[in-house]
């Protein structure tokens, strides 16, 4: 047989794709989204706690945050998911029964938190110290100043990096297949893989890949768009009509020493 033709049929068997598509869209896509979105939410909340702990003046907050980040960033995602999904399975059994799904979400969240924590921390630390001083001078406590003034600015600066992390999360969600999900819990990758295994044809797996791209490529462009907007927002020229009005300051002041050297 023509090797090129074999190759084509291995990846582009339209019938195999058509067969897998309904399940891909009704089971795989929702599950991937549930895994990714819930892990993104939980991971971002945990990441924010890690970020704030990481810049705390208290060693007992800073130090554990540092260790956590090093450990969860340093382990392969597959190892973390297996360790948590299998290791905590007996505990999970008592809390929510034999369902590995919540542990999968937990593992993904814990991994994402380590990265997102570092992203948030770098953003928060990039905000000028003068902003904190300005807020404190108005009478805000340290935590109020952080919450109202520093963190919102810091997070805004690192939104592109944060979205990048969400893209990684969507891809990593495929790893929960290690945990032996029920048929109705399978996400995109697992469904593609199952079809590929039963038919000996990779087309369904390729279809799963296309589904991932359909999710991640728009997000990549969203990152670029956000990045561009943030850049433009920061360098705004002063409108030409913004001249200093003379209606304030009835007192006519002498010119400054610097402008009037004698």
């Amino acid at each position: 047989m023509d090797p090129l033709r074999t190759l084509w049929e291995t990846f582009f068997d339209w019938d195999a794709m058509r067969e897998a598509l309904p399940e891909m869209l009704t089971v795989g896509l929702p599950n991937t989204l549930i895994l990714a979105v819930s892990a993104a939410l939980l991971g971002s909340v945990l990441g924010m706690l890690l970020a704030v702990a990481g810049i705390s003046r208290t060693r007992w907050l800073r130090w554990p945050a540092r260790v956590y980040t090093d450990v969860f960033r340093g382990l392969p995602a597959a190892a973390t998911i297996l360790l948590i999904g299998v290791g905590l399975a007996p505990l999970g059994m008592q809390v929510w029964g034999p369902n590995p799904y919540p542990l999968g979400v937990l593992a993904l969240s814990l991994i994402a938190a380590a990265y997102i924590g570092e992203i948030f921390r770098s953003g928060i630390q990039s905000v000028e110290a003068a902003q904190l001083e300005g807020a404190r001078a108005l009478g805000f406590s340290w935590s109020e100043a952080m919450r109202l003034v520093i963190i919102p600015q810091g997070v805004r600066r690192v939104l592109p990096a944060w979205v990048n992390q969400l893209i990684a999360l969507i891809k990593d969600s495929s790893l929960v297949y290690f945990l032996g999900l029920l048929a109705s819990q399978r996400e995109l990758f697992r469904i593609g893989q199952d079809y590929a295994a039963t038919t000996g044809n990779e087309s369904a797996l390729l279809l799963a890949g296309l589904c991932y791209l359909a999710l991640t490529v728009p997000l990549t462009h969203a990152v670029n768009w956000i990045d561009r907007r943030l850049r433009q927002g920061r360098t705004v020229a002063v409108a030409p009509d913004d001249t200093e009005p003379d209606l304030v300051g009835e007192t006519d002041l002498p010119t400054t020493a610097r402008r009037d050297p004698r």
């Binding site: 003068a130 108005l138 009478g139 109202l148 805004r156 920061r234 002063v238 913004d242 007192t251």
Partner: protein, 245 residues
């Protein structure tokens, strides 16, 4: 301008060291109720640090700060800072908020005003600094002079009893300085107790009730502007004035 209920201010023998660096070495300053003191002196003489010990952004190692004769060092620092307004060289407006929200934030969160009341106070304050039309603009869309006037309005909205100005016009283009100094002069005339760290000798001469000259962490000469500028006693002050005037 607003009618502030000003207080008198006394800084007594304040010491502060950052490690081996003695920034303040027994600084004293007295400002009568409703009076304006201008603090002048070379860079690194401790002027800005002295200002920050008054609202305790920096805690002094030793010495005392008194408002109307009462020490503030045992007060809650956050509550103290609501009574002592401060304006910075770099404005320190919050860039992610509109001008209006920059002012209403503390009114709502700290003074616990309702939204409507906070907006009303903020707009009135913006009116006073001549920026009523800029309420919905972002700080980045304003000139430096306008930003500084917003910063002054933001501090005044909390009805402080003392105002501190840390080189409020040093970061401004020369043509924008006058508008900001005008607002400050109006405020002084309205009876606000003010401590103004400045390089604007014209402003010090014209507006100040007291001019204090700082060098190496100590106020080495203080008095009425005429006396300080026309007949300086300390050689260090004479040398300084010969260089800046």
């Amino acid at each position: 301008m607003s009618t502030p209920t000003s207080v008198s201010l006394t800084v007594r023998d304040v010491h502060l060291a950052f490690g081996a660096n003695n920034v303040l070495r027994g600084a004293d300053l007295t400002v009568q109720r409703g009076a304006t003191a201008c603090v002048i002196g070379p860079s690194g003489s401790g002027k800005s640090t002295l200002l920050r010990t008054i609202n305790r952004l920096i805690e002094p190692d030793r010495g005392d700060v008194l408002l109307d004769g009462r020490s503030v060092l045992r007060d809650d620092p956050d509550a103290l800072r609501q009574r002592v307004g401060m304006v910075f060289q770099q404005f320190n407006l919050f860039p992610h908020m509109t001008v209006l929200r920059n002012i209403t934030l503390a009114l709502r969160r700290l003074k616990k005003l309702g939204e409507d009341e906070a907006v009303q106070v903020a707009r009135a304050q913006l009116e006073l600094v001549g920026l009523a039309g800029k309420a919905d603009a972002r700080p980045a869309h304003l000139s430096g002079g306008q930003q500084q006037r917003v910063a002054i309005a933001r501090a005044l909205a909390l009805r402080p009893q003392v105002m501190l100005f840390d080189e409020a016009t040093s970061a401004l283009d020369p043509e924008l300085v006058k508008g900001v100094l005008g607002v400050m002069a109006d405020l002084a005339a309205a009876g606000m107790t003010m401590v103004v760290v400045t390089h604007e000798m014209g402003f010090a001469r014209e507006v100040a009730d007291t001019v204090a000259f700082m060098d190496a962490g100590v106020v080495i000469e203080a008095g009425e502007p005429a006396a300080v500028f026309e007949s300086p006693e300390h050689p260090r002050l004479r040398r300084f004035l010969s260089q800046v005037l």
